[in-house]
Structure formats: C-alpha cells, structure tokens
C-alpha cells in the first residue's frame, strides 16, 4: 500500500504532539530526572568520584532513569488510557495497522529518552562542569535509545493489564524501586551488599552498566548486558502477546 509509510509517520507525529502537550505526563517524565539530577548531581559538583565530579558519573544513571520513565509512562499509561476508554477500539476498527500504533509509541518514547539525556548533558556541562567528549555523548545517546526497548515492552504489559486510573500509580511502584535498586540514583557501590546482589537481576542495572561504560566507568561485559536486556525484551513481549491473545479470546 502506497499510503502505509504515511500512516506510520502520521501516527508517530501525532503521538509526539499529543504527549508533548500533556503537562502531567511531561512532569513525570522530564521533571523527575531533571530535578533529581539537579539535587543529587549538580549540587554535589565538588564531590569527586572516580577522578571526576559525581555529576559526570550520575549523568549515565539519570539518563537511564529518564529513558525508563518515558517508555513506562508513554506506553504503559498511554495504552491503559486509550484501551480503557474505548479509544483503541475506534482505531482498531479503522484501517490503521496495529504495528503503526505500537511503533509510534516506541519511537516517541525513544525521542523523549534521547531528549532528556541531552537536557541532562547540557545541565551537567553548564552547571557542574561535567566534561564529556562528543564521541562519549553520542555513544551514551545510542545506548539510551536502544535501552528503551525492554522498558517499552514492560510498559506494554502494564498498558494491557492495568485500568487507566491505576496505571500511573502502578508505574511509579515499578519505576522508582527499579531505578533505585538498579543503581540509577546513586553509585551501586554505595548500596547495601544484599541490594547489589538483587540489582544483578534487574534490567535497570544492566541498562545503567551499559550507560556507565560509555563514560568509562564500568568495564563489565557489554555483550552480557545487551544479551540480558534482549532476554528481558523477549520475556516481556512474550508475556504481552500471551495476555493480548487471552484478552482477544474473551473480547
């Protein structure tokens, strides 16, 4: 179909427009990482960690934090709202390809994640004297963009099972502990040992390892981290597909 690429483009364009005008969504997604980074990173700019200001180290974690938020809220809460109020039914009865809907949500999550990371880099550079090379910055953005995928898949599950009014609360219950325990808010070494053990089972931890690696902080295996994130993605997508099929059979 000649019109199909146009559908995919329009779906993503209007999804971006829709979310960028939604204040409560913007606050949760951009507000949290920016405020936390200013509080814990920028105000501690004289605290030296691994030979640099801590603000440089925390740039990686808070960028991951922003990426998780944009995908969990954008996809989880967005889908729960549109599914719960019957709007998704209208779209599904139209000739819109289902993939256009999902890819629009994914691409907008990536856009916001990259935007938040860029914003944090700017804040860190301007206010806390963080120095990163262009190459490091680009590698970090690439990790952030790709790392959105497993959390987008988790968002899909939340969007499918949660009622629209409960979704934001449930997302916070997943998002905040996952961020803290994964070492996104403060260096993982400063967490109690038992939490560090748990962290190794969390997708957020491996996401942060990859981000830290781009700034030269972690020398753990990138292949292992990517493999684990891919594994989580497959797991979450399979669960989402299973839930969707079961709902379809009952619909």
């Amino acid at each position: 179909m000649a019109t199909t690429p146009v559908i995919y483009f329009n779906e993503a364009r209007f999804e971006l427009l829709k979310l960028s005008r939604n204040r409560s969504y913007l606050f949760s997604m951009i507000g949290f990482p920016v405020i936390f980074y200013l509080l814990f990173g920028v105000t501690n700019k004289n605290y030296v960690f691994h030979g640099h200001t801590i603000a440089r180290y925390l740039l990686a974690g808070y960028s991951c934090f922003g990426a998780m938020g944009s995908s969990l809220f954008g996809i989880g809460a967005g889908l729960a709202f549109e599914r719960g109020h019957g709007w998704l039914e209208m779209k599904r009865a139209s000739p819109m390809p289902a993939a256009a809907y999902l890819l629009a949500k994914l691409s907008v999550s990536i856009t916001f994640a990259v935007g938040i990371a860029l914003l944090l880099m700017t804040l860190g550079t301007a206010l806390a004297g963080v120095h990163i090379t262009t190459f490091e910055g680009l590698r970090l953005l690439a990790v952030i963009a790709l790392g959105v995928v497993p959390f987008a898949s988790l968002g899909l599950i939340i969007g499918l099972v949660m009622p629209s009014n409960a979704a934001p609360g449930v997302i916070n219950l997943i998002y905040l502990p996952l961020s803290f325990c994964g070492g996104l808010w403060m260096p993982i070494e400063t967490l109690p040992h038992w939490l560090q053990v748990i962290a190794h089972g969390l997708p957020s931890f491996w996401f942060a390892r990859l981000a830290l690696r781009t700034l030269g902080y972690s020398d753990s295996s990138a292949i292992l981290a990517w493999a684990l994130l891919a594994g989580y993605t497959v797991l979450f997508l399979s669960a989402a597909a299973f839930i969707f099929r079961r709902q379809e059979a009952r619909a």
Partner: protein, 320 residues
C-alpha cells in the same frame, strides 16, 4: 403472552429473508454464537445488511447489540458461525477501507485538536473525504482548532461521527450515535444519516431511542437475549402489535376494567384512564354499557414503543 403471538409471523419473515441470498447483501452474520465464558451473548443470530439500507438494531440493555456490531467490525471473534463483510473478513485492510465505525468512546486524547484527530484518521484511508467536507457533514465548523478535551459531550460525539466518515466508507456502523446530544444536534445527525443513505451508503445503527429507530431505519431488527425476535419496517412492527390503547374519562374502577378479558394493563392519570387491550371492541362495549357517562374517548393504535415493549415483554404500565 403477547410476545409469542407477535413474534411468530415476524420470525417466519426472518427465515424467508435468509433463504434467498441476493447480490445486494454487503455484510452478514450467519448463525453467529458468541459466548463469554458460560454467558451466551449472541445465540445463533443471523442478520444481513443490504446496500443503501438504514438498519436499526433495537433491544434492551445487554441484548447483544454492541456484541453484534463488534463482531461485524472484526473487533471480536465469533465462537461459532460466520461473519462476512464485502465478501471478506472484517479484519482485512481491504474490508476496513470500506468500513466506518462510531463506537461508544468514553474518552479520547484531549491534547489533540479536532483538526488533528481528523487529519490522523483520514491518513489511514486511500481516498479520504476532504476535511472541509467532513467538518460540514458532522457540524464541526468553528471547532476545528479546539482541543478535544474542551468539547462538550455532544460535540465529542460529532467528532466521532466525523471519524467514522473519514474514509468515505460504504458501510457505516453507529453504536448509540446520538447519546448525550441535545434535540437539535440529534435531528441534525439524523439528517446526515438520511443523506448518507440517499448516497447509497449502508448504515447499521444501534440505539435505545425508539424515536431514532422510527425516524431513520428502513428496517428494524429487535434483539433480545442474543436472538432476533422480530424484524421489519417500523410500520410492520407496529402493525404486528394488535393491541390498542383506549383513553377516556370514566367513573369505572381500574380494578373492574383490568379484570375484563383481553386487557393487558390499566393506568389511571387523574380522572383519565389508559387501557391497553388486545380486544378493544369488546372492552369498549362493556365499558360504555357500565358507564353511559364515559367521555373523552380516544382509541390509538400501537406506537413503536408499544410494539417494542410487547416484543421484549417489558410492560412498564402499572396495573392497579
């Protein structure tokens, strides 16, 4: 009691219709059963839509109207039976390009403008209607730059109506289209539905406003407990209901009148009495004999509402 008498001839009529499959049938449900767990929502229900018809699916809440529409749109799969649209599966893009649907939507994204919602939906179709035309048809002039969240209930319904018409579809399904609309907006939408039918479009409408079905539908299908219990034009359904309503001022006791043979219900409004009966002549004869002073006499044939109530056996009249 009344229902069984009336549904007999109509039921035969339904079977006659399904017997000769004609070329103008553009969508059909054939002996479709839909179960939700143990609960049966549709019970071997068959219906056909022919080109240019306005068909109203009428029935009490939970009768299976919305389920039937969702199956026709491919939003839900039949447990058994066959669903066909334009000779194909409703889930195919080719079918959906010729289909427009206005469903019951509680909320949709508030932060897009009316124009943007229309632009997005229009881009799904190969040959969308021009936006100006859509706005005129759905009565959205002056609202195009408004955010969806700022619209009133009736205005939101009109946006959903416009979305259903975006692709210039041949079959339009409207699920309770005038819910929450004021009288003026409702009449305006009826006018548009009539225009669409005049252009050869087929319209399937579910409604619980009898007036709406009466005003619009070329054919009414009455559904109850997942089954078609009657089918025909509004006039046919009314004619099938043999009952009459007698209205008069009388000193007779309601208890006496309600005991007369053939009386279904008696209602007293001040000194006016409303008597519903299957045997108007015999009842009137007795009443006039017993009360020579009986005045203000009026005998009315069944309205669509009476026919509907008789069919679904939900008599609301109070018998005293």
């Amino acid at each position: 009691m009344a229902a069984s008498v009336i549904s007999e001839p109509c039921h035969n009529a339904t079977e006659d219709v399904t017997d000769h499959a004609d070329a103008s049938v553009i969508a059909s449900l054939r002996s479709v059963t839909k179960k939700f767990g143990q609960q049966i929502a549709l019970d071997r229900l068959s219906l056909e839509l022919r080109q240019g018809e306005v068909v109203a699916l009428l029935g009490p809440n939970g009768a299976g109207k919305t389920t039937a529409v969702r199956l026709l749109l491919g939003l839900s799969e039949a447990t058994s039976g066959e669903v066909s649209i334009f000779g194909g599966n409703p889930r195919d893009r080719a079918s959906r390009l010729r289909l427009g649907a206005m469903l019951q939507v509680g909320r949709m994204p508030d932060t897009l403008r009316v124009r943007e919602h229309l632009q997005l939906f229009s881009s799904y179709y190969d040959h969308p209607r021009p936006l100006e035309e859509l706005q005129a048809v759905a009565g959205l002039e002056g609202l195009r730059e408004r955010f969806f969240g700022t619209l009133s209930g009736g205005q939101k319904q009109r946006v959903l109506f416009a979305l259903a018409l975006c692709g210039d579809p041949d079959l339009i399904c409207l699920d309770e289209p005038t819910l929450g609309m004021d009288v003026e907006a409702r009449r305006a939408m009826w006018e548009q539905v009539r225009k669409l039918a005049a252009q050869g479009k087929t319209i399937l409408l579910t409604t619980h406003y009898l007036e709406e079905a009466d005003a619009l539908a070329s054919r009414i299908i009455v559904v109850q407990k997942g089954k078609v219990i009657a089918e025909g034009t509004s006039a046919e359904l009314k004619a099938a209901d043999q009952s009459r309503t007698i209205r008069c001022t009388t000193s007779l006791q309601p208890s006496f009148v309600s005991a007369l043979p053939g009386v279904t219900s008696v209602e007293q409004e001040g000194n006016t009495m409303l008597v519903r009966t299957q045997a108007p002549e015999a009842v009137l004869r007795t009443m006039l004999e017993r009360d020579p002073a009986l005045s203000g006499l009026e005998v009315r044939a069944a309205a669509l509402e009476d026919a509907f109530l008789a069919l679904t056996n939900q008599t609301t009249a109070v018998t005293r």
